[in-house]
Symmetry: C2
Subunit: 239 residues, 2 copies
DNA sequence: CGACATATTGATCGACTTCAAGTGTAGTGG
DNA sequence: CCACTACACTTGAAGTCGATCAATATGTCG
């Protein structure tokens, strides 16, 4: 049930059978959410942390005057609000971008897990640190790259993250965002996102239809994106 | 010696005398660094985490084609690379922006501290989570605010963060960045930073001379910045 | 003083925004 | 089976914010 989480954690460090079963046992019943649902509210104080089992979700930071910025994209295996264990209230909200299956673990249980299995506790910490590394790369892309490069960078990242949890087929991966949502990720207008997507399409770098993206020319995409995957930390870590 | 760190941690949660003395005892000899020194290299694998005692430092993410983005500003009391305890190698470098006094704590010692004092361990985790919350707010400002608002937002943030560790006098705070460095924070050209600064100056919102900024009209600055300080988490947390 | 980083100003250019309208396409109910 | 709605996507035209290029102060520190 929580296979994609275990896949990701195992990428960082092998789990003992004990750690794995104690962790897997900690989650509640799966629940469904429709696309566009707010699953964690800005300003709230969660008592559980939510894990994505299926579908895409996003962290949304709203500015007082109405600006809307997506600060993280979440895929199966991702905790959307693990930080709410220690950091409250929520500084942003979390919404689904597609129909999702979710499950949750009580904060009390997370604390018990971390106490019983210190290395598992550090793995959870690591999980939030990787979120931070991705935030930093997004900042660099947002601040210093033009639209096409920024978009290409996002696609490279999504491809590798989805691949790590086994959700890609060949060069194809699910990408159920509307262009408006994509604009909120990239900090652009949806009009310009549309034109930028068309640019990548007409250059035969990617094809995007029906919520799926196929990468037609990975080399070129990486070059446009100035992409270096190190910051994703998809490998063993010294936890 | 590590007073500003203790001030910050205490803001989040009272420390027991034991926790406080064990923590304070953990740091090595202070060392000096000149402005512009690289104190942690991109790609390196630190065995200690570095704390700023005096001065300003910045995390710098470089893009392959030469883009340069500052993804965090660090002031006294801040760990510049606490995440390197679990996340290696470094995904960015850290440079000083002014002459600094630094000290460091070995990672081995941090692990021992976290084991002996679980709550202190969670406080360290919390510290990295607040870094993440600031990253998210920077993403929103970068993606959805115009230059003047973005700059104003940064100044509000810096004022409150410095105030929390006792480094402000009235409405004045140290800000030893060059306009080029500021441009790398805001994702702008230094020319445009210059014009934006002049805009805030001629509107009598702030005055900036000799590495110090005085806020002349806090209300207006907050309004320009659409600033809400919640995300800084300068208060008690459930660690 | 010379040298070099930093700040400032002007002029031009271009990437992206905004506004507005039009084109699918899927769902809903008559 | 056809209106009607809703939403995502697309296209065009005009405007603006910020980049770039280039030149001129203004320190400031050996």
């Amino acid at each position: 049930m929580v296979n994609s989480l275990l896949a990701k954690l195992t990428l960082w460090s092998e789990l003992t059978p004990d750690e794995e079963s104690d962790l897997a046992r900690s989650f509640g019943e799966p629940r469904r959410a429709a696309a566009g649902d707010e699953i964690v509210a800005h300003g709230s104080t969660p008592t559980v942390s939510t894990l994505v089992l299926e579908g895409f979700a996003a962290r949304v930071t709203l500015l007082p005057e109405g600006g809307r910025q997506i600060t993280a994209l979440h895929i199966p295996g991702d905790f959307v609000d693990l930080h709410s264990l220690l950091l409250t209230p929520m500084d942003h909200s979390v919404v689904t971008l597609s129909p999702c299956t979710l499950t949750a673990v009580p904060h009390r249980r997370l604390r018990a897990l971390a106490e019983a299995h210190p290395r598992l506790g550090r793995l959870l910490w690591l999980n939030t640190l990787v979120d931070g590394a991705i935030h930093r790369q997004w900042l660099a892309a947002m601040g210093r790259m033009a639209a096409a490069g920024h978009l290409a960078h996002l696609l490279c990242e999504q491809f590798l993250r989805l691949q790590a949890v086994g959700l890609t087929r060949d060069q194809t991966f699910p990408f159920p965002l509307t262009q408006v949502a994509l604009a909120d990720v990239l900090g652009l207008s949806s009009v310009h996102v549309n034109r930028t997507v068309q640019e990548l399409r007409s250059d035969k770098v990617v094809s995007w239809t029906g919520g799926e993206i196929e990468i037609l020319d990975w080399e070129r995409l990486v070059r446009i994106a100035e992409f270096d995957p190190t910051y994703l930390y998809l490998r063993k870590m010294p936890v």
